[in-house]
Amino acid sequence: MADEAVFLLLHNEMVAGLYRAAEQGEGENGRCTTKLESMGFRVGQGLIERFTKDTARFKDELDIMKFICKDFWTTVFKKQIDNLRTNHQGIYVLQDNKFRLLTHMSAGKQYLEHAPKYLAFTCGLIRGGLSNLGIKSIVTAEVSSMPACK
């Protein structure tokens, strides 16, 4: 879909632009990731407000996680999360085997060290969405082989 292409390009430019600025100025990689994550946070908050305007109240945490995996992910990335695991004590692992933001980069181990930059925004997105649904969380991402990520 045309919309997706524009968003992908904007996202890649954002990552590139922020890192370019950092190289010339402060030179701190950590801060760029934080900035991207906080941008994702704002976007996540806004998006979740719009998506859940008309849906029913969520029964519990698991229900919320299922919503994120199915509806939220579909609206944002046009596909569902492939695998959701939990230890029922507050830790959830969402696995996406063909993560949209990474499919154009590589299909294997190449460029693995650059992957976290592209995941920071999405981590913020999830954290923002959850925070507006009343859940405080920490979201981390792990990529072992592109384009799958957890």
Binding site: A5, V43, T75
Partner: protein, 166 residues
């Protein structure tokens, strides 16, 4: 969905405003990012639309307004030619989806061109099809004008090159 793009763009502009104090810096940054997007977007556009080669500046401007804008932003600006030489055009947007969630510019950011990314995108895309152009905002609804107007001035280089080949 488009909302994702619009909200992300808003967050980006907000972040840039935090990083840079001067409006001109933010505008430059947005333009540069737009340029980077434009040079890649043109491939996507040509692949999706399969349009024929444009034979004149006026056709190109029409193409941008009626096909590209419609495809990516869902709106169709109206095109008008504003110079006798036929190389200056304006695209008039009465509905700009990028500012759907923005009410007004904050007071200390009065000269911020919120949609400057669009100018960079158009400029980058045109350059990739060998048309040098200057793209700027002539009017901006967020700054109080009646409509949002983008001015495209095609620079003479492409024409000269064609003549030399003949």
């Amino acid at each position: 969905s488009r909302e994702l793009f619009v909200i992300t763009y808003g967050a980006l502009v907000a972040q840039l405003c935090k990083d840079y104090e001067k409006d001109e810096d933010v505008n430059t940054c947005l333009d540069r990012m737009g340029y980077g997007i434009g040079v890649r977007l043109i491939d996507d556009f040509l692949a999706r639309s399969a349009v024929k080669k444009c034979r004149s500046y006026s056709e190109t401007a029409d193409m941008i307004a009626q096909v590209a804008f419609k495809m990516y932003l869902g709106v169709t600006p109206s095109v008008s030619c504003s110079s006798a030489a036929g190389n200056e055009f304006s695209l008039i947007l009465d509905k700009n989806p990028l500012v759907d969630f923005v009410e007004e510019l904050p007071a200390e950011r009065a000269s911020l061109c919120y949609c400057n990314l669009l100018c960079g995108v158009i400029r980058g895309a045109l350059e990739m099809v060998h048309l040098a152009a200057e793209v700027t905002f002539l009017q901006d609804r967020l700054k109080g004008d009646a409509v949002t107007e983008i001015g495209i001035t095609f620079l003479r280089k492409a024409e000269d090159r064609k003549q030399k080949r003949n």
